[in-house]
Assembly symmetry: C2
Homo-oligomer: 339 residues x 2
DNA sequence: GCACAAAATGAAAACGTTTGCATTACTATT
DNA sequence: AATAGTAATGCAAACGTTTTCATTTTGTGC
């Protein structure tokens, strides 16, 4: 006696009194099978509890129906919007997401890429443009449709959609300068293996330098992407008598931490110190004071990236690299003011 | 001429001068092949750029190496900790995550479950205990190792690990009572198809009822999980002259919105109104005022859930249902005070 | 009814692995 | 040097589908 665990396509075929080929067609090309046959098969499927095996169909070079997504972390407000938008759009296009996180470790990213390719994902989504040579090489060798999200640059090796983070940095720095600030501190995360943060910092420093403004070494705070750490590292700076009149943060979470640090010291934002972020996270508009920041439209980035990937997958002949620059925008709110 | 696209196991075998069987063993049971043969194969793999095909191995009933995770949304601070912890632990155990989101739509959840099963995931992670009968039935029929995260109950149909949300509700309500409050308002999300929120609300109402405290209908605010919405809906309540002395929020994000509403009206928290949350999100301890809330230890939930799932997968004979109650804990902080 | 085209179905090969069994190559023991 | 025992390898079947090609069924116009 056979001790098979679950129904396969043959069981369904027998049940419905047709051949396996017909059952297969019923799933993949329904218009090729007569409506009443289809109904028979449908009944057989329900009776047997059949669930088709994607692995077995993927083996024929057919679509695996999955797309891989590799992100630094899920732990954070930073990417959640982006990921959600990306996932939703891809779901809408019939894909399932295979997600992996590397914790800002690019060696691990490469391994994850390999693992996703083993699963024969049809496309890959990545965050940022900083990747190992091996990573790029593997993508190119396998000609895997890929899109890098978050960062735009005109000269990338793979398709990208995102904001120009240098521009974002420039924009917020210029805003602070326009308000008349000269004593400016920065609160940024580690920029190692994090090109988004690096680009922003570059943009900021670029503008400040052009305006002949120096940022002393001890005014360049280093923090993780957490309210807690950002708050901790800025308390010292703010309680010093020789303190800045404005602080530019690497993102909105950091900015929020800085604001709390100031407020906990009894300072008024923006009266005593202006604080600006980058990102315009959900909620940033409704903080107290509402946060001046740079809007990055991560929803749009995620959605567009998914659409581009879908296109790349469905037209594999076309090897064009798509690049989409999602414009950044200054959101002037209450946390910054004239000097 | 063959126009094959990528190297398969046979190409590697030829390259290395061995049989495909040996190559296969080299991947799956390395100790069964001689070290020098292994080296030859290793070289051949690199030269041919071979990446093995999980689909083809999954077909043999072997491990697919994937685990499915179905969550309501990724868009939110609520689950990000949990998901990150769950993902990390499973990665550590050699699995890749297949993630899908249903946007709080349980019909869609069922469809996603089917789709994940088509991919032959070895286990399933779900959020909460509210699921369609079909969903439970399918899991049981296929005997798919599954674990529900976030909510603990002693009588569940599948394994679960999480907090007792009723207890969480009770705890925070009791705290508010202990502080002497009698005029208490609630700010909760829609509890439809959301058993976490429903349980919390149940716990809160239970304790209030026992203390003979009524919550007028217009003091039961309904809001989404967003700072913005929470802030909007609470402004009216707080600006009324007949206002509560304390507000219990369904989670920390909502609480934050309520606090901002109060502060934007010039009120002091907790001086004029006490505000409490549930969840103890990262950052909640560092808000201003720091938020009194119920700690749910989502990291631990995620990690434990992953471990349980791993166990369930590796010992499929054992059909026990694991249930883990992660104790909740009151975090008394600055946002609440004696009446 | 008949011839013919078109539509629906079936038979069997193929996909890229793994694995049970058979075979060959080593190692150690006498 | 022969033998037994073990370790390493190869052969071929199997896994659950899809797909090509051939065959049968259905429908159409006379």
């Amino acid at each position: 006696m056979k001790t098979k665990k679950y129904a396969d396509i043959i069981d369904v075929a027998n049940h419905a009194g047709v051949s396996p080929a017909t059952v297969s067609r019923c799933f993949n090309h329904p218009d090729m099978v007569r409506p009443d046959t289809r109904k028979q098969i449908q009944i057989a499927v329900e009776q047997t509890g059949y669930i088709r095996n994607r692995a077995a169909q993927a083996i024929h070079g057919r679509r695996s129906g999955t797309v891989g997504l590799i992100v630094p972390t899920l732990d954070n407000a930073i990417f959640s919007n982006l990921i959600q938008a990306f996932t939703e759009q891809l779901n809408a296009n019939g894909f399932t997401m295979l997600v992996a996180t590397h914790g800002y470790d690019l060696d691990r990213e490469y391994k994850l890429l390999r693992s996703l390719l083993e699963h024969r994902v049809e496309g890959i989504g990545l965050i940022g443009l900083d990747h190992k040579e091996e990573t790029y090489a593997l993508i190119e060798r396998r000609e895997t449709p890929s899109v890098a999200m978050w960062n735009y640059r005109p000269d990338t090796r793979i398709s990208c959609v995102g904001a120009d983070n240098i521009e974002a940095g420039k924009l917020i720095a210029q805003h602070i300068l326009d308000l008349g600030h000269k004593r400016i501190a920065l609160a940024f995360p580690d920029t190692h293996e994090n090109d988004r943060a690096a680009s922003r910092l570059t943009g900021v420093l670029d503008v400040l330098k052009k305006a002949d403004i120096q940022v002393p070494a001890d005014w360049r705070l280093n923090t993780t992407y957490s309210i807690r750490n950002a708050r901790e590292v800025s308390v010292d700076l703010l309680s010093s008598h020789d303190r800045p009149t404005a602080i530019i943060a690497g993102n909105d979470v950091i900015a929020q931490g800085v604001i709390y640090a100031a407020q906990s010291l009894g300072m008024n934002v923006p009266g005593d110190v202006s604080v600006a972020g980058i990102g315009d996270f959900s909620g940033s508009a409704h903080l107290l004071p509402s946060l001046t920041t740079i809007k990055l439209r991560s929803n749009k980035v995620g959605r567009s990236a998914a659409l581009i990937l879908d296109e790349l997958i469905n037209d594999r002949e076309n090897k064009n690299i798509h690049r989409l620059d999602i414009k950044v925008e200054l959101m002037m709110r209450e946390s910054t003011s004239k000097l």
